[in-house]
């Protein structure tokens, strides 16, 4: 193949920038981690930030956003957006609590039912957007309102407490596997997040579906003319995003010991922030799942560092906002080069 092109410095610079943006989530994560170590208070000669329990708590805290962000990555990769994830999470979490406490169907069937509800919301998002050619921004904005309204209407508008029978509640004990830690260290929610991320990454890389996701986001007309089922791919992606949101909802309910129709507020923003910080282009077609997990992890780590240093929560919002702008500015820089 031709090597003269690559020898051109301008071209090489472009390739370099490409790589930098591709891994910006990891670079950011590394920087934040080092900052955390440097800034953390030291108590009894242990760095509070570096402490394993603290790190695992960060992961547990990050898992919900991370799982949703993986679904959101798929949606953004096909050039769409899903604003309804927060509301869908509220519905799923409340449904989890409801099914575990008022029915006898057990943990597994509850989980399956919740995942199906998520898939249904996602399917409707994708199908309506596709059938009526309405931008997903609008359809999912509507769903954001609809799903939350449905959660309140169906479950009575109040939080449903979720306690194990041994603690005086009505939920089966095995539902609380979510609170376990693998090897006594790695929290199950984090395990779920990494598991889903690995499966999604492999699917994006090794399956025709993954290839089609990138192609549809990269140029839907070209994909269509090349025989890719563009609308089918999009609807499937929305449904998958719904399923992952529902998984996060299940974890959410168990971790919080309740399912509340008012939960999940602004979760869509956290998920989108994680995706964008992870280097995924909002125009679609470019990005990785690993980047989104790194983005979510980074946001969680920043929250943790600020908490350890007793910085007030409002500042965390400022920093998150600034980070999103920096991440997108990096992508712009690349495109201009």
């Amino acid at each position: 193949m031709n090597s003269t092109l690559l020898a051109r410095p301008a071209f090489r610079k472009q390739v370099l920038l490409h790589t930098a943006v591709r891994f910006q989530g990891f670079l950011g994560l590394l920087i934040v981690f080092l900052l955390g170590v440097a800034l953390a208070p030291v108590k009894d000669e242990t760095n509070l930030f570096l402490d394993v329990t603290n790190q695992m708590n960060i992961l547990r805290y990050v898992a919900e956003t991370g799982i949703i962000a993986i679904g959101m990555t798929l949606v953004i990769l096909v050039g769409e957006i899903d604003l309804s994830v927060g509301a869908v999470l509220a519905f799923g979490a409340t449904l989890t609590a409801h099914l575990l406490t008022t029915t006898q169907i057990g943990t597994l069937l509850t989980l399956i039912a919740v995942l199906i509800s998520g898939a249904a919301f996602g399917f409707v998002n994708g199908a309506v957007s596709s059938a009526f050619r309405i931008p997903s921004f609008v359809v999912t904005l509507a769903m954001m309102s609809f799903a939350r309204g449905l959660a309140r209407l169906v479950f009575g508008g109040v939080a449903i407490p979720l306690l194990a029978i041994s603690q005086g509640g009505a939920a089966p004990e095995d539902a609380f596997f979510v609170n376990l830690r693998l090897g006594g260290v790695l929290p199950v929610p984090a395990l779920l997040m990494f598991g889903v991320a690995i499966v999604a990454s492999l699917a994006l890389r090794y399956t025709p579906f993954g290839r089609h996701v990138y192609a549809v986001g990269g140029n839907p007309v070209a994909a269509h003319l090349s025989g890719v089922r563009v609308e089918f791919t999009k609807v499937l992606v929305f449904a998958l995003c719904g399923v992952l949101t529902a998984l996060a909802a299940f974890v959410h309910a168990i971790q919080l010991n309740q399912g509340a129709p008012n939960d999940g507020f602004a979760y869509e923003l956290n998920a989108i922030a994680a995706v964008v910080i992870g280097g995924t282009s909002l125009q679609g077609g470019i990005g990785t799942v690993a980047g989104a997990v790194a983005g979510a992890w980074m946001l969680g780590m920043i929250d943790n560092i600020l908490n350890l240093n007793n910085v007030q929560a409002d500042v965390q919002l400022l920093i998150k906002g600034a980070l999103i702008v920096v991440a997108v500015a990096l992508q712009r820089l690349q495109r201009r080069a």
């Binding site: 192609a215 025989g227 890719v228």
Partner: protein, 531 residues
């Protein structure tokens, strides 16, 4: 290819020097875009600026209009050194530009666009709409446009919008007019009108720079030709001193003896594609098709000629399953078997390949790697058990890249970073990989440079030589005449006639292409069939 003499050779070198750019240099980080380039424009000449993509034509125009500033060299306008700071400043100095991506606001009306940024005002600062309407109407009449100034720009044809820009240039008394591929989107009639007006401006003493990839237009309109290559000045002569071959040689830096590949004896095989009585009523804004009949055999290249909007693209799209079956009626048979494609997916499965007109808009995911773009349509052959065999795929991509001589650093390079010609070869590679037996090509060489064109021509011949049926739509008549065994000429959504290779000439094609007036024919189209 005979070169028509320039219409008024007397105009050459007569006028005073209007603009003189000497020793212009422009460097971008790591690249020298322009290196000591000279350009001398005289009043009353149309000056063609020629060169392959990347030769520096656009950079030079951007320097003249103040979008870039040059690192070296001087620009003199009427003997005074100038340095345009931005397009507005250039316009004030008397340098106007008309380019393909017009800087117009579709939502505003004709007169509002005409006066954009220099609105006429009453004493109190209110807009003087009636004065602007009146003035716009007067200037537009000068370029032969009788438009209602209140019409929104949105509904205007590209030609009308370009004329609007020209009128604007006249109204600000431009001394130098830069035209960057002004005819790309125009029909034959519109091109002739554009030329008429261009000549009128030239005769009034304006200096005009003209950039086009269409050789014939350049020889028709240009008085003088300057050639750039790799950012350097190559030569500048009167147009009459050039032959087509000499010009191409200067542009690419080496002779191209086989620009059009030699004609190979056609080995005609079985009839692969037959269209009978095809009628298409597409979505609004596209040409409807009436009673289309055609057939293409294995080993045959059949051309589709016609003016812009004659329905060539619509025809190819209908055959390829882009329009849903509800929009068309008639018969499409592949290999003698009647087919109804519900989507391009079905068409590809049946052995069709389609290279669409708009490379960037319809064919490529620019941000994705070359490799993914190559295997987008033919991925299935590298999949087993639902998993892509990446190694096999890489080999397939490698073979395609080599077979089509795609110049790319690697298969992982985003395809948007390649040159236009190489991008187009990636699109061909996609269909080369699915090994279709019927190729539908829509303007396959539009906007790519001479060297890449020659390669695509050779490829088209090779495909046909290997037994594929090729249906080629093109606005480039020499291309059609050189490549096709037969040419079908379309006009207003019908096939106006068929010309064999021996019969075909530019005049006969044009005659057929303008057979029916706009908006449909009164004549029975079947009587027009000459073959």
């Amino acid at each position: 290819m005979p070169v028509p003499p320039p219409e008024s050779a007397a105009a050459v070198a007569d006028g005073p020097i209007r603009l003189s750019a000497r020793g212009i240099g422009k460097r971008f980080p790591g690249v020298v875009a322009l290196d000591k380039v000279d350009l001398t424009l005289r009043g009353g000449e149309v000056h063609a600026l020629m060169g392959e993509n990347g030769a520096g034509k656009t950079t030079l125009l951007k320097i003249l209009t103040g979008i870039y500033t040059c690192d070296d060299g001087v620009i003199e306008l009427d003997g005074h050194a100038v340095r345009p700071r931005d397009p507005r400043d250039a316009q004030r100095l008397g340098i106007s530009i008309i380019h393909q991506e017009l800087n117009q606001v579709p939502e505003l009306s004709v007169y509002e666009n005409f006066f954009l940024g220099r609105e006429r005002r009453h004493a109190l600062g209110w807009l003087d709409r009636s004065a602007m309407r009146e003035e716009a109407r007067r200037w537009l009449a000068q370029v032969g446009l009788a438009l209602d100034p209140d019409r929104p720009l949105r509904g205007l044809r590209v030609a009308e919008r370009q004329l609007l820009e020209i009128a604007k240039a006249i109204s600000i008394d431009a001394k130098v007019l830069l035209m960057d591929e002004p005819t790309t989107a125009l029909s034959g009639d519109e091109v002739r009108q554009m030329f008429r007006i261009t000549r009128g401006l030239r005769d009034r003493g304006m200096a005009i720079v003209y950039i086009s990839h269409r050789m014939d237009e350049v020889f028709e309109i240009a008085d003088r030709i300057t050639v750039l290559r790799d950012g350097r000045f190559v030569d500048s002569r009167a147009a009459g001193d050039y032959t087509r071959d000499a010009l191409i040689t200067q542009m690419v830096g080496r002779p191209l003896p086989e620009f059009f590949p030699p004609e190979t004896p056609a080995v005609r095989g079985a009839e692969l594609l037959r269209v009978r009585g095809l009628n298409v009523v597409p979505r609004t804004g596209k040409q409807s098709l009436t009673d289309i009949n055609l057939h293409v055999s294995a080993g045959e290249v059949v051309g589709l000629a016609g003016l812009l909007g004659a329905g060539r693209t619509e025809l190819l799209e209908a055959v390829f399953g882009v329009c849903p079956p509800s929009m068309w009626s008639g018969d499409i048979a592949i290999d003698g078997e009647r087919k109804v494609f519900h989507s391009p997916r079905d068409a590809i499965a049946a052995g069709l390949g389609f290279v669409a007109e708009d490379r960037k808009g319809q064919s490529l995911a620019l941000g994705r790697p070359v490799g993914e773009n190559v295997t987008l349509a033919g991925l299935a052959r590298f999949v087993s058990g639902g998993v892509i065999r990446l190694r096999d795929e890489a080999q397939g991509i490698d073979a395609a890249v080599r077979a089509l001589r795609i110049r790319t650093p690697s298969a992982a390079t985003p395809v948007g970073l390649l040159s236009g010609g190489n991008q187009q070869k990636v699109v061909f590679a996609r269909h080369w990989l699915t090994q279709p037996r019927i190729f539908l090509l829509d303007e396959p060489t539009q906007g790519i440079d001479v060297g890449a064109k020659a390669e695509i021509y050779a490829l088209v011949r090779e495909l046909a030589g290997n037994g594929a049926a090729v249906l080629l739509a093109s606005s480039d008549m020499p291309e059609l005449l050189a490549l096709c065994d037969r040419i079908l000429v379309m006009c207003a959504g019908r096939i106006a006639g068929e010309l064999s290779r021996a019969q075909a000439s530019q005049e006969r094609i044009l005659d057929l292409a303008t057979r029916f007036g706009h908006g449909g024919a009164q004549d029975d189209p079947r009587k027009a069939t000459t073959a």
